[in-house]
């Protein structure tokens, strides 16, 4: 007997999504679905529109065509309501504050995951020793880890990660992969971009390769 699913709609469903800046097409039209427990890797060269796609999906840019559905609803601020964790190019953290203080601010805005506090989130990204050092004194890789700590701390179901591997060493890359597999196993979904230079390996996740450019393709 097939078990009736509580969530018949995929977490993220994109139909005919296109974005144009000053009538110049940036990407699209794109069609894809991202369900719980899945990981979607967006690949493309520099300037191919990966970041623009992520910002469009996060609702920060209005698409020029198509529609985005999040958990069955047309995307809006209420539909997302903190269920999305966005990690952009910029760390989204204040360089004069320590990782601990930055995360304290974020946990005032977003709901934190149950049983996870700031210390354990920082320990998860191997930054416990630098919890109280101002961010500007940390290396680029450590700053990236501080930004990644929000993935361990916050409870959002959909992760939108823009170049999460940038500036990271081998252990850092493994850390990102481990965080993503954990998130998938918990039923979360991840959409990440990469310029393709990093070996991305997670045997449990469905991989959809999305190549952006003038001719956008979706490959399973």
């Amino acid at each position: 007997m097939p078990e009736p699913s509580l969530n018949p709609d995929p977490l993220l469903h994109v139909r005919g999504l296109a974005f144009a800046r000053n009538d110049e097409p940036v990407f699209g039209p794109l069609d894809f679905a991202l369900d719980r427990g899945e990981t979607l890797l967006v690949e493309g060269d520099n300037g191919s529109g990966k970041t623009t796609l992520l910002r469009t999906l996060a609702g920060m840019l209005p698409p020029s065509a198509g529609e985005i559905r999040f958990d069955g609803q047309r995307i809006s601020r209420d539909a997302i309501a903190g269920r999305m964790v966005f990690l952009g190019h910029h760390p989204g953290m204040k360089s004069d504050l320590s990782p601990c203080e930055n995360l304290m601010f974020l946990s005032g805005l977003y709901s934190a995951r149950e049983g996870v506090d700031i210390e354990s989130a920082l320990a998860r990204v191997d930054l416990a020793a630098y919890a109280h050092t101002p961010l500007r004194l940390l290396s680029a890789g450590q700053k990236k880890r501080a930004a990644l700590a929000r993935l361990a701390l916050l409870s959002g179901e959909l992760w939108l990660l823009d170049e999460p591997y940038a500036n990271l060493d081998r252990h850092g890359i493994e850390l990102v992969n481990a965080l993503i597999s954990m998130h998938c196993a918990r039923g979360g979904a991840t959409l990440l971009t990469s310029h393709g230079a990093v070996r991305f390996a997670d045997p449990n996740a469905r991989h959809v390769r999305l190549e952006l450019g003038t001719e956008s393709t979706v490959r399973e």
């Binding site: 609702g59 309501a81 910029h90 204040k94 004069d96 304290m104 005032g108 805005l109 709901s111 039923g187």
Partner: protein, 238 residues
């Protein structure tokens, strides 16, 4: 199996007031870390005020007569260069994206940001205002009216400036643009605030201009954060 895991993510979202408090706390912490920056507007105001006796001559009567207006314009000018960066840093380091995507009313976050700005940048100016008044021979019994006028006028200017700072956050060289847009808007504020001080100096009733300022402040407290939020959403689009 996936459906079973869903129940884990039902964690309470922090309330809007918690979020506003978290932002205000962050702002004050940042201001404390960069506390030397708060000195610049204060030093600027002191130096500009000290120039007036040199330029106009040291007659106490003349200085006392212009002191209210001079002080208000000086405080306004001291605020101008600091207003521009109100949302700039948050836009550049990605903090604004995090605030935008948070399940919190952006207008309330903007209000908390403006409150943080007022406490860290403008309040020091009000604290030194009695010293500036002394430099210009303002009669001591008028000092409470001056402070009341500043306490009403500066938040109003901060709120107006915040809307313009949000509108120009994504543009380069926005400092002069912001000044050009804010100064006309500041005219009524200066008229009422300086009017109250002048009225008190000549022994006339001064509560009417102060009440007008208070009414405008209440209006701005409600409307400016909403306008800020709309402008910030546009700033993130570019």
């Amino acid at each position: 199996m996936v459906a079973l895991v869903q129940s884990e993510t039902t964690v309470q979202t922090p309330g809007a007031l918690t979020a506003a408090r978290a932002l205000l706390r962050r702002e004050l912490l940042l201001a404390w870390r960069r506390r030397n920056d708060a000195l610049f507007p204060v030093l600027y105001a002191i130096i500009v005020t000290a120039l007036f006796p040199f330029a106009l001559g040291p007659e106490p009567q003349l200085l006392a007569r212009v002191s209210g207006g001079v002080l208000l314009v000086t405080v306004l000018l001291a605020m101008l260069p600091t207003l521009e960066s109100m949302f700039r840093g948050d836009l550049e380091d990605g903090s604004l994206e995090q605030m935008l995507l948070a399940p919190q009313p952006l207008a309330l976050l903007a209000l908390a940001r403006i409150a943080g700005y007022w406490l860290s940048t403008t309040l020091p100016l009000i604290v030194v205002a009695p010293l500036l008044a002394l430099l210009l021979h303002l009669p001591l019994d008028v000092l409470p009216v001056l402070l009341a006028a500043l306490l009403l006028a500066t938040p109003l200017l901060a709120l107006l400036g915040a809307v313009l700072a949000a509108l120009t956050a994504a543009t380069r060289r926005s400092a002069i643009l912001l000044a050009l847009m804010l100064l006309p808007l500041a005219v009524p504020v200066v008229i009422f605030a300086a009017g109250a001080v002048a009225a008190a100096q000549s022994g006339l009733p001064h509560s009417a201009p102060l009440l007008w300022l208070a009414a405008a402040l209440v209006l701005a407290l409600v409307l400016a954060p909403l306008a800020c939020a709309a402008a910030l959403r546009i700033a993130v689009e570019t």
